[in-house]
C-alpha cells in the first residue's frame, strides 16, 4: 500500500515537474518570440490583441515582465499612430486616453525593471521620446535628454552597436541631426577601436552610403580618412577623390553637396589645386552651383577656364560665370565680358546663342536699343533653324524694341531687382528656387518649385505673386503658381528667374540654373 502511495506521489510529482518545465520552456519561447510576434500582430493591425497577449505573458512569468511592458508601450504607440492615419476616430476618441496611459506606463515600467546595460532600457526610452515628440508636448525635451543619457550609458556598458545605431537612425529620421551624429560617432569609434580592418571599415561605410544613410556613412568615412591619413598618406588622395565624387550633387541617389565640398577642401589642403584634374574641377564647380554657393562656384569655374581653356565645359563655364557675375554678384560689367567671350566664337552652340541673348538683353535694359538689336539679329542669324526657344525670345525682344515697348513686365522686374542699386537688399535669402532634375533631357519633364520665407502673419495670409521669367520652356506659369512643370526643346544651360511680390513690394528675387543635355 505504501509502495502504491509512493508510486502515486512520484508520478504526481513527475507530472507537476513536467508541466512546470513545459510551461517555463513555453514562456522562454514567448520571450524569444515577442519580437517575431510583434511583426505578425502589427502587420494585421491587431494591437489590442497583442497587448492582451502580452499582459498574459507578464502575469505568467515575472522574468518577462519588462519585455512585455516594453512591447505594450510599443504596441499602443503604433496603435495611436495607426488610428490617426486610418482616421478610425471612434476608437481614437473612445480609447485614446487609455492607450496613451498604457503607452507611457508600459515604457516607464520597462525602464524601471531594467538596468542601464539592458538594450530594453534604451528602447523603452526611445519609444517614450518618440511618443512625446509626436505629441509635441512639453515633456519631449526631457524625454530626449533621458534617451541620450541612457544610450550613452548603454554604450559605455556594452559593445552592442546595433541598438546604438537603431537609436541614432531614429533620431536622424526625426531631424535630431546633432544628437544622431553624436551617437553615430560612438558607433564609428567602436568600429575603429575594434579589430575592424581598413578595407572592412570602408566596406561598412560604402554599405551605409548605398542604404542612403549618408549621415552614418560620412561619420565612418571621416574615421576611415583619419585612419588612412595616419597610416598611408599616398593612399589617401584617391580615397578622398572617390568619396568626393560619391557625395557630389546628383539628381538621383545618395549625395550630400556640403559634405562633398568638405572633402574637396581636404583634397586641396593635401595636394593643392594641381591635384584637381579637369573633370574634378568641373564636378566641384557644379556641386557648389547646386548648393547655391555661387561665389565659390565662380572660383571653380574660373579655375577650369584658366587651366583648361579648351575643355568641353569651357563654354558652359563662361556662360555660368557671366550669369553669376551679372545676376548674383551684381557685377554686370564683368558678367558681360564672359558673354562677349562666347559671342566672339564663330560656331553656334547653345552657350554662344545664350551669351548673345544675354548681351542683347542687358543692352536693351540699359536702353541701348541699337546694340540690343545687333545682338539679337546676330543670334537669329547664327541660330538658323536651331535653338528655337532662344530665337523666339530674341524675336520677342526685337518686337518690343520696334514697338518702343518696355521689356516684358516679369522679365523687366527681374532685371530691375537684380541690377538696380536700390534693390541690393534682395539677396535671394528670403526665397528658395529649385529644379528637378538639374540635368534634364530634351522634352523630359522638369519640376520647378519655389519657397518663400516671409515674415509671420498668422491667419492674416499675405497674398504673394510669383513673377516668372527667363527660360521657362514650354510652360507659361501664372503669378499664382509657386511651382510648375515644364519641358525644354533645345540643349544648354537654362536660367529660370523669379521675383516674389507682396502687396507692399518685392520680397525677393532668385535664379536657378539647370542643364539640358
Amino acid at each position: 500500500m505504501k509502495d502504491k502511495k509512493l508510486k502515486f506521489l512520484i508520478l504526481n510529482c513527475s507530472f507537476v515537474f513536467c508541466v512546470l518545465g513545459f510551461a517555463l520552456t513555453c514562456f522562454a519561447q514567448d520571450g524569444k518570440k515577442l519580437e517575431e510576434l510583434k511583426g505578425q500582430y502589427f502587420k494585421e493591425a491587431k494591437f489590442t490583441e497583442f497587448v492582451n497577449y502580452l499582459k498574459g505573458v507578464a502575469e505568467k512569468d515575472k522574468s518577462l515582465e519588462a519585455e512585455a511592458n516594453y512591447y505594450i508601450a510599443l504596441a499602443r504607440y503604433h496603435q495611436l499612430k495607426y488610428l490617426e492615419e486610418k482616421q478610425s476616430w471612434d476608437e481614437y476618441f473612445n480609447e485614446g486616453n487609455t492607450y496613451r496611459d498604457e503607452m507611457t506606463a508600459g515604457a516607464q515600467k520597462a525602464i524601471d525593471e531594467t538596468k542601464a546595460n539592458d538594450a530594453l532600457n534604451v528602447k523603452a526610452h526611445l519609444v517614450l521620446w518618440q511618443f512625446h515628440h509626436d505629441q509635441q508636448d512639453v515633456f519631449a525635451q526631457d524625454a530626449l535628454s533621458n534617451l541620450m543619457n541612457s544610450t550613452l550609458e548603454y554604450a559605455k556598458a556594452t559593445k552592442d552597436l546595433e541598438t546604438i545605431k537603431e537609436v541614432a537612425d531614429k533620431l536622424s529620421s526625426y531631424g535630431e541631426k546633432g544628437k544622431s551624429r553624436q551617437l553615430y560617432k560612438i558607433y564609428a569609434q567602436e568600429l575603429l577601436s575594434s579589430e575592424t580592418k581598413d578595407g572592412e571599415l570602408k566596406r561598412i561605410a560604402d554599405a551605409f552610403y548605398k542604404e542612403e544613410n549618408t549621415e552614418l556613412a560620412e561619420t565612418i568615412y571621416d574615421a576611415y580618412i583619419e585612419r588612412i591619413a595616419k597610416e598611408d598618406k599616398e593612399k589617401l588622395m584617391p580615397v578622398l577623390i572617390g568619396i568626393a565624387k560619391s557625395f557630389a550633387y546628383k539628381d538621383e541617389g545618395p549625395n550630400d553637396p556640403p559634405y562633398a565640398e568638405k572633402i574637396f577642401n581636404k583634397i586641396e589642403e593635401l595636394g593643392g589645386k594641381e591635384s584637381f584634374d579637369e573633370a574634378l574641377i568641373y564636378l566641384r564647380a557644379f556641386n557648389l552651383e547646386k548648393s547655391k554657393e555661387y561665389a565659390k562656384a565662380k572660383d571653380s569655374y574660373l579655375e577650369l577656364i584658366k587651366r583648361y581653356p579648351d575643355s568641353d565645359q569651357a563654354n558652359e563655364a563662361n556662360f555660368k560665370l557671366g550669369i553669376i557675375f551679372t545676376y548674383i554678384l551684381r557685377d554686370a560689367k564683368s558678367g558681360k565680358a564672359y558673354f562677349q567671350e562666347l559671342a566672339q566664337k564663330k560656331a553656334a552652340s547653345a552657350y554662344v546663342i545664350s551669351g548673345l541673348y544675354q548681351l542683347g538683353l542687358l543692352s536693351q535694359w540699359a536702353q541701348d536699343s541699337g546694340a540690343a538689336q545687333a545682338h539679337y539679329n546676330e543670334l537669329i542669324e547664327m541660330a538658323k533653324s536651331d535653338f528655337p526657344d532662344k530665337v523666339a525670345q530674341a524675336r520677342e525682344r526685337l518686337k518690343e524694341i520696334q514697338d518702343s515697348k518696355l521689356i516684358e513686365y516679369n522679365l523687366k522686374t527681374f532685371l530691375d531687382a537684380s541690377l538696380k542699386e536700390e534693390y541690393t537688399a534682395l539677396d535671394s535669402a528670403k526665397s528658395n528656387l529649385r529644379s528637378h532634375p538639374y540635368i534634364a533631357k530634351k522634352d523630359a519633364q522638369v519640376q520647378i518649385t519655389s519657397g518663400i520665407q516671409s515674415a509671420q502673419s498668422g491667419c492674416m495670409q499675405v497674398e504673394v505673386q510669383f513673377l516668372w521669367s527667363g527660360d521657362l520652356g514650354e510652360n507659361a506659369p501664372g503669378p499664382n503658381q509657386p511651382a510648375f512643370k515644364t519641358t525644354y526643346k533645345s540643349p544648354g544651360t537654362k536660367m529660370v528667374n523669379l521675383v516674389v511680390v507682396s502687396p507692399t513690394g518685392i520680397i525677393d528675387r532668385n535664379i536657378d540654373l539647370l542643364d539640358v543635355r
Binding site: E84, Q87, W89, Y92, F93, N97, R100, D101, T104, A105, A107, Q108, I111, H125, L128, H132, Q135, Q136, D137, V138, F139, Q141, D142, A143, S145, N146, N149, S150, A425, S454, A455, Q456, S457, G458, C459, M460, Q461, V462, N480, P482, S502, P503, T504, I507
Partner: protein, 407 residues
C-alpha cells in the same frame, strides 16, 4: 427693499459683488494662476461672433431682438464653457451690457472684452502718430469705463495680432522716426518698440481706471515679445493667437524665457472642412481641438508636470461665419463657401489641397449654422468637437511624463 435683497442674494449666489475681483497669482518658478473672487479659474472659453447667415461682420448682433446669445449660452453651459471672448464691443453700450449680463446671470459665462486698437482702420494703424494714439486710447478707456463694473467681465485684451504690422506685410505703418532709419531690421525694432510702448501705456491707464481686471496683450504667436519685455511692464498676461496644428509646441517655455507672463491661448483651433477631400470633416476638427486642450491643461498651474504658466484658452470659434470668404460680396454671405483663404502645413490632413490652401475660414465653428430658423435665429447644430471637448473637460486625461528627469 425686497428687490434690493433679491439682488444681493443673487449676487452672493453668483459669487460676485457688483464687479468681480480678478487677478493673476504668481507662484514660485513663474507658475501662474487666474484667480476670480478668491478662487482659481480655468478659462474654458470660446471666441464669440454670432453673425447670422447672409450678413457680415458689420451686423449689430448685440441688438438682435432674437437674442442669439441666449440659445448659444445654454448650449455653451451644457458643454462646459465658462468664458467667451469678444474681439470688440458693439456700438450700443446698453445692448452690450445686456449680453454680458444675460450670459453671466443665466449661464455663469464670463466675458473677455477686447479692442482691435484701430487695427483695421483705413489707411493703416499709425501707432507712432500721437493723434491716432489719443483716439485709440479714448476708445479703449471708454470701453473699460463702460463695462468694468459688469460682474461678468473677466479681463481686457488689447489688440489681436497687431504685432504682425511691425514686422511683416500686414497693415503696414510707419512714422517719421521709422522712416529716418535705413536698416530694415532696425525699422522693425523701432516699430515694435513704438507699438508695445503704446499698448503698455494703455494697460497702465486701464489699471488706474479699473484695478479689478487684468489686461492682456493680444499677440500673434510670440513674435515681438522680446521688445514687449523691454517696454511693457504693465501688461499682466499674453493672450496668444496661435495656429500650430495639434499642439502649441514649446510656446509655454519660450514665453517664460522671453516675456515671463501667464498665457491665455486666446485664439486657436481647427476648421471642420477637408479642403483636399472637399467634404466636411468633424472628426479632424475634434482631433485637433482635443489635442490642443490637452496641452493647455498640461500647462496649467494646477498640473505639476507642465510649465504651469497657462490659464486656459478661448478656442476659435463658437459658430461658423458664412461671410468670411468673399467679404465684399453680399451674395457670398449666403453661401457656406468651401474655398480656402490661407495655407497652414501644421493642419496636415488636407494640406495637399490645391495650392496647399487648406484653412477654411467659414468652417471653424464648434456649432454649425443652418439656414433653417429656430427661435428666429439660424439653427445651431453642435459638431463632434462640441461633445469631445465636453467630455475632455469633464475628465481631463492628461499625458504625464512617467519618467523623471535625469538631469
Amino acid at each position: 427693499m425686497l428687490a434690493a435683497c433679491s439682488f444681493f442674494i443673487i449676487a452672493c449666489l453668483l459669487g460676485a459683488s457688483p464687479s468681480s475681483k480678478v487677478h493673476l497669482k504668481k507662484f514660485r518658478n513663474s507658475r501662474y494662476q487666474l484667480i476670480v473672487n478668491g478662487r482659481p479659474y480655468i478659462v474654458r472659453g470660446v471666441c464669440y461672433n454670432p453673425v447670422p447667415i447672409g450678413l457680415n461682420h458689420e451686423y449689430d448682433w448685440w441688438s438682435d431682438p432674437n437674442k442669439p446669445w441666449l440659445v448659444d449660452g445654454k448650449l455653451m453651459k451644457e458643454m462646459g464653457i465658462n468664458t467667451i471672448r469678444i474681439y470688440q464691443a458693439g456700438e450700443n453700450p446698453e445692448a452690450v451690457k445686456n449680453v454680458i449680463r444675460d450670459l453671466y446671470s443665466l449661464y455663469g459665462i464670463r466675458t473677455i472684452m477686447g479692442s482691435w486698437l484701430g487695427f483695421w482702420e483705413f489707411p493703416c494703424p499709425f501707432y507712432g502718430d500721437k493723434a491716432f494714439q489719443d483716439k485709440v486710447k479714448k476708445e479703449v478707456l471708454g470701453m473699460v469705463n463702460l463695462y468694468k463694473d459688469e460682474p461678468g467681465i473677466l479681463m481686457w485684451i488689447l489688440g489681436n495680432e497687431n504685432n504682425y504690422s511691425c514686422f511683416g506685410r500686414v497693415n503696414p505703418w510707419t512714422s517719421d522716426e521709422v522712416e529716418k532709419e535705413p536698416d530694415p531690421q532696425k525699422k522693425n525694432a523701432l516699430r515694435a518698440k513704438i507699438y508695445y510702448s503704446f499698448v503698455n501705456e494703455l494697460a497702465k491707464e486701464i489699471h488706474k481706471a479699473d484695478p479689478n481686471h487684468p489686461v492682456a496683450l493680444g499677440n500673434g504667436e510670440l513674435l515681438g515679445l522680446d521688445y514687449a519685455n523691454q517696454v511693457s511692464p504693465d501688461i499682466d498676461l499674453v493672450a496668444c493667437i496661435i495656429y500650430r496644428g495639434k499642439t502649441f509646441g514649446n510656446i509655454f517655455n519660450s514665453l517664460r524665457n522671453t516675456f515671463d507672463r501667464p498665457i491665455l491661448m486666446a485664439e486657436f483651433g481647427a476648421d471642420a472642412y477637408d479642403a483636399y477631400l472637399k467634404k466636411e470633416d468633424q472628426n479632424v476638427q475634434a482631433y485637433f481641438l482635443e489635442s490642443q486642450w490637452r496641452q493647455i491643461y498640461e500647462n496649467l498651474a494646477q498640473t505639476k508636470e507642465g510649465v504651469a504658466n497657462c490659464i486656459g484658452g478661448t478656442m476659435f470659434e463658437w459658430s461658423d461665419e458664412w461671410w468670411k470668404h468673399e467679404e465684399a460680396n453680399p451674395d457670398s454671405w449666403k453661401t457656406h463657401d468651401t474655398a480656402s483663404n490661407w495655407s497652414n502645413g501644421s493642419y496636415y490632413f488636407d494640406i495637399k489641397a490645391e495650392g496647399n490652401k487648406n484653412m477654411n475660414e467659414e468652417w471653424f465653428g464648434i456649432v454649425a449654422l443652418s439656414e433653417e430658423l429656430e427661435n428666429g435665429i439660424n439653427k445651431r447644430t453642435p459638431r463632434k468637437a462640441y461633445y469631445v471637448i465636453r467630455e475632455f473637460w469633464k475628465k481631463p486625461t492628461l499625458i504625464k511624463p512617467k519618467v523623471k528627469s535625469q538631469k
